[in-house]
């Protein structure tokens, strides 16, 4: 019995029971994929957010751009250009060419040969062999892009490249403001010292005066006398020794700091780390130096404004003098805003390298509010946590993305850490969050799933990453403490598809044996995600079409029907997913109980997240039910009230249906457009009848809508313009004034042109 085979598989995960007959089930081999993947055999023809341009030009908000987005923007700006469609087509072709280049040549990308300009130009050259106009289109598009940098495709290195790029962009803008301020202060501080020197005896020495005069008039002055006069005439400005010492020290600190060095001779500090301990050590080692720098900045500002109060001068008025104030100056006196002026520490970490000790160090660093930004990259969602390494695969499923999940949950719990979780496929979509995280004044963590998995049945990393989000295996999460004080403002699941539902649903089209198109809605569940991974193949079995029966049901239905408590009973129905085989043929795969239970756990985790995100929140639903009860009670009371109101509404006059009468146009007929002396065609009214193009096909051409326009008024004579106007069936050609006064028969032609002016 075939149904028995299916039940046996569901319960035991085995296709053949020992001693039994040949099973009707077939193995779920490598050629099968979830049905919704059938459309994505060729990713290069899909227009999506990747590759991204890591733009090195322009503002921070243009740091990450999508190639498709750039092309669309450029094409949009070509609104009325007659060759808009040609350029758009070439733009799409160039995109496709670059995508296939990047995906076929991963070695080159890894080696850094992924400069946008180079790839764009080489793609244009290759496509120009087919259509020479491509070079022109590529040039015009490039001029409109206003972007350059590296291209990033979804691969192993992408999350770190993108994160570092945004971090660099944020640090770059920080450094710019910081350096500007330091340079301003240094100039002024040097100015104070120079002013003192210039008015001192040393500054007014004959030799110095002579040097400042230059050689042209050196003989005209007696510098000895001049020096004497100057020294006697005006006493020099003297600053106190303390102040001079202080200013010299300030200059020394500002010039030699390594956070944002102002001179090339000073080597900058490195702020990108790959081990948490090293990052924390570096932070500790530089803390006092950073403190000194911030202190120096504060004092320098007071100095250059002349507001610094020295103890000797100001002790009398009772106010605290600055010298005493700054002696006690420590980190506790600085708010987060001031501290965030210094660079942040970036820690890039693969979860596969994460041991228990380092996990705790990261959580500790984040919860202690260190200025640290952490990128946590997960490549395999099923990698075991440190304590799970000895468990079986099935047990590991419950620890889905367990290493990153622990850190993320701890970070959210510590309340003031910025947390973002996104799959590589959704990084572009989350670019605003990424920037917010890096500009956030406290610690931040970004957990990214790369989708690069050796067990993924040959499916592109982009698709694996996207499938992880679709299947709720790695949902998009954002926790932003800067968005407000309450949880509803801080926590968001907005980046997830169909976030209101348990699983996203998509329409799926296919053709049957008689070539008829059918469409059905398929859910993408965690079971589909498991089916992508070779390690779980044995939890699935293919049911041949002849064996399909009414006992097979979809995974969501199976989850709602079979509760986990009834595991000892025989199932009412066997869960199955729709898959496609190597020849794009539809098939169904049933799954065993372990896979179904893993799916249930994933669904329950998603429900918890939904509740946190305010979706189907049980507290809110309880409150709503309570309110409804109250409302029903109030309505029941109101029924005894007099029915006057109802009578009043009954007397309202019925509306009168409008008569079907001719209506006038809203605007009067517009005056003829005045275009000066140039010839023109009312292109939207052209009926494509070929009259004018047969007169002169260089002068008159069709646009992409196959409607005529004047391609080149100088490509023919005025006579041809007039003849075309006369021949035009709908009289939309206006010949304008002749350009060549020597053209024969001009007088007659102008007379003939009059009706068309």
């Amino acid at each position: 019995m075939n149904a028995q085979d299916q039940i046996a598989f569901y319960l035991t995960g085995r296709t053949s029971i020992s001693g039994g007959a040949q099973s009707s089930l077939e193995p779920f081999d490598r050629s099968y994929h979830p049905a919704l993947f059938a459309r994505y055999g060729d990713l290069t023809s899909l227009r999506y957010d990747y590759p991204m341009v890591l733009n090195s030009q322009g503002d921070l908000d243009r740091a990450l751009l999508s190639l498709s987005g750039l092309v669309d923007e450029a094409v949009e700006s070509l609104a009325d250009d007659p060759v808009r469609d040609r350029i758009a087509r070439h733009g799409y072709e160039l995109e496709r060419e670059i995508r296939s280049e990047l995906s076929s040549n991963t070695m080159a990308t890894a080696a850094g040969h992924n400069d946008f300009a180079v790839l764009w130009e080489s793609a244009a050259k290759r496509l120009a062999q087919k259509d020479p106009n491509t070079v022109d289109s590529a040039k015009r598009l490039w001029a409109m892009f206003n972007a350059n940098g590296e291209l990033a495709h979804v691969d192993f290195a992408m999350p770190a490249r993108v994160t570092k790029h945004v971090w660099n962009a944020v640090q770059g803008s920080k450094a710019k403001t910081f350096r500007k301020e330091i340079e301003r202060l240094l100039l002024k501080l040097h100015g104070i010292l120079k002013a003192e020197l210039a008015s001192s005896e040393e500054g007014r020495a004959p030799k110095r005066l002579e040097a400042s005069m230059g050689t042209a008039f050196a003989g005209a002055f007696d510098f000895d006398v001049m020096s004497e006069v100057l020294v006697r005439a005006k006493p020099g400005v003297r600053i106190s020794d303390d102040r001079r010492k202080r200013i010299t020290l300030l200059i020394d600190v500002l010039e030699h700091q390594r956070f944002f060095p102002v001179s090339k001779e000073v080597a900058p500090y490195e702020f990108v780390f790959y081990r948490c301990a090293t990052a924390v050590e570096a932070y500790k080692a530089r803390r006092s130096e950073g403190m000194e720098l911030l202190k120096a900045l504060e004092i320098a500002r007071l100095e250059v404004n002349g507001e610094y109060r020295e103890s000797a001068e100001y002790a009398a008025d009772g106010r605290l003098d600055h010298t005493a104030l700054f002696e006690d100056f420590g980190l506790e006196h600085l708010d987060a805003g001031v501290l965030s002026a210094l660079p942040d520490y970036l820690l890039c970490k693969y979860t596969s390298e994460l041991d228990a000790e380092e996990t705790l160090q990261i959580v500790d660093a984040l919860s202690s509010g260190l200025p640290i930004k952490v990128l946590l990259q997960t490549d395999d969602l099923f990698e075991p946590s440190q304590t799970q390494t000895r468990l079986t695969n099935e047990e590991r499923q419950s620890g889905l993305a367990s290493r990153s999940r622990f850190v993320i949950e701890a970070a959210i719990a510590s309340n003031d850490v910025f947390v973002m979780q996104a799959s590589a496929s959704h990084l572009f979509d989350s670019k605003d969050s990424l920037q917010r995280g890096f500009t956030y004044s406290g610690p931040a963590i970004f957990s990214v799933f790369s989708g690069v998995n050796a067990h993924a049945r040959g499916i592109a990393p982009y698709l694996v990453a996207a499938a992880a989000v679709e299947s709720r295996a790695f949902p998009t999460i954002l926790y932003d403490p800067s968005s407000g004080a309450v949880w509803a403002n801080r926590f968001s699941l907005d980046g997830n598809p169909n976030r209101e539902a348990a699983w996203p649903e998509h329409s799926f089209d296919y053709e049957d044996e008689s070539l008829q198109t059918h469409s059905e809605d398929l859910t993408f569940t965690f079971a589909d995600f498991l089916a992508l991974d070779e390690r779980f193949s044995r939890h699935f079995a293919i049911v041949p079409k002849a064996e399909w029966n009414s006992g097979m049901t979809s995974v969501p239905k199976a989850l709602s029907g079979n509760s986990s408590n009834s595991t000892n009973r025989l199932p009412n129905s066997i869960p199955s997913i729709t898959v496609v085989g190597a020849r794009n043929n539809l098939a169904r795969a049933i799954l065993d109980r372990q896979a179904l239970e893993a799916t249930r756990r994933c669904e329950e985790r998603w429900h918890t997240l939904q509740e946190l995100g305010g979706i189907h929140n049980s507290y809110a639903e309880r409150a709503a039910a309570h309110f409804e009860e109250q409302l029903a009670a109030a309505l029941a009371k109101a029924q005894v009230a007099p029915a006057n109101a109802a009578q009043a509404t009954a007397q309202t006059p019925a509306s009168v249906a409008p008569q079907s009468t001719p209506i006038a146009a809203e605007e009067p007929a517009a005056a003829k457009e005045v275009r000066g002396n140039d010839p023109y065609i009312e292109t939207p009214r052209c009926t494509s009848c070929n009259e004018c193009t047969q007169v002169n096909n260089k002068m008159f051409a069709y646009n992409d809508e196959k409607q005529a326009y004047i391609a080149d008024a100088n490509a023919g004579t005025y006579r041809q313009l007039v003849e075309a106007a006369e021949g035009c069936q709908v009289s939309i050609i206006h010949p304008g004034k002749p350009k060549n006064p020597k053209e024969p028969g001009l007088e007659d032609l102008m007379k003939r042109a009059e009706p068309f002016m």
């Binding site: 999508s66 996207a466 044996e513 070539l515 079907s660 209506i663 052209c686 009848c689």
Partner: protein, 340 residues
């Protein structure tokens, strides 16, 4: 085993945001050139060119897969239409475009079917098919290129030639009043979509054809067109004077943009569900009513009530073809036809 469709989805290309990128197919983009084939042999200035362009634009905008689209025509100038469309096409017999289109519709419901006929083709020799095609209400778009004359055979009177028109067959002028195809169509049982448009307002022509294409049922569109060769001035007065065209507009019909209403100021609000008013409007010829006269999506379609229940597998088709070939095969003694 079922097979996944290779068809492209009928939507313009757009940037798929990462949220829906996974399940957003790359929408294959078609260009006008993808539907163009050959250089039309129509005279320059001919209204057929305008109809061809409008139809090609419609195909492009609806992203109709050329291999899933078929154009059927009869005989006449306009019936050369399938030659210039880079899709499947049948240039059939005089007056018989509609029954062939109906056969295609029954056998291959997955195809988009378009029919192009002239006024002589449809209203004269094909009149019986026209009446029944309207009654059968099978899902297709039928366009009648009505230039009031037989053009291909050099100027003979057609059923829509106005009274008094001098032609080779009526040298003293046509004796009878012209047939009004709109009132006839609106009088046939089961009529579901009737529209009239002129070839010299491209925007309206496109809009009307687009509405007709989306109508689920038999869409009858009469397109009044110029014949610059044989009746060069016949429609000039209508062409030059915007007041002699009456635009029909309604929320359920055509919505007109300001470019049109600036030029054509004679406008009537006409509800396409009102068949009585539609018949009144249809009986007028000056100004020419242009727009959707009647539309009813609830009329039953023949192919739904009478569709073939057999699965048209390649084996079945092959068997049918072999049986036909067998009829012409000379069998050696002792051998029998295998597919009879």
């Amino acid at each position: 085993m079922n097979t996944i469709t290779n068809n492209s989805m009928p939507t313009a290309p757009g940037l798929a945001s990462a949220n829906n990128a996974l399940l957003e197919l790359y929408k294959e983009q078609y260009e006008l050139e993808d539907y163009q084939k050959g250089v039309p042999r129509w005279c320059s200035g001919c209204g057929d060119n305008a109809i061809l362009t409008a139809v090609q634009r419609l195909c492009r905008d609806e992203a109709l897969a050329p291999e899933k689209t078929v154009f059927v025509s009869g005989i006449g100038c306009s019936s050369r239409f399938p030659h210039y469309m880079n899709t499947y096409g049948v240039h059939s017999l005089h007056g018989r475009a509609l029954p062939i289109a109906e056969g295609i519709r029954l056998a291959r419901p997955d195809l988009k079917v378009f029919v192009n006929m002239g006024d002589g083709d449809c209203f004269s020799i094909g009149a019986a098919h026209w009446v029944h095609a309207v009654r059968y209400n099978m899902n297709m778009l039928a366009m009648v290129h009505d230039n009031n004359i037989y053009g291909l055979t050099k100027k003979q009177a057609s059923p829509t030639s106005p009274k008094g028109l001098k032609t080779n067959t009526t040298p003293r002028g046509a004796y009878l009043d012209a047939l009004n195809p709109l009132t006839v169509t609106l009088g046939i049982a089961n009529v579901s979509f009737v529209a009239q448009v002129v070839d010299w307002i491209p925007k309206l022509l496109y809009q009307t054809l687009s509405e007709a294409y989306h109508h689920p049922g038999f869409s009858f569109v009469r397109i009044i067109q110029r014949c610059p060769e044989w009746l060069p001035t016949h429609l000039d007065e209508y062409l030059r004077d915007p007041e002699r065209v009456l635009l029909l507009t309604h929320d359920n019909g055509l919505t007109l943009d300001t470019d049109l209403t600036k030029r054509y100021t004679k406008i009537e609000e006409h509800d396409p569900s009102d068949i009585h008013r539609a018949r009144e409007v249809a009986s007028g010829s000056d100004p020419i009513p242009v727009g959707i006269l009647y539309r009813n999506e609830n009329v039953p379609r023949y192919e739904e009530t009478r569709s073939d229940t057999r699965l048209r597998t390649s084996a079945l088709i092959r068997k049918g073809l072999e049986a036909e070939f067998d009829k012409f095969t000379i069998w050696p003694k002792g051998h029998q036809p295998q597919h009879a």
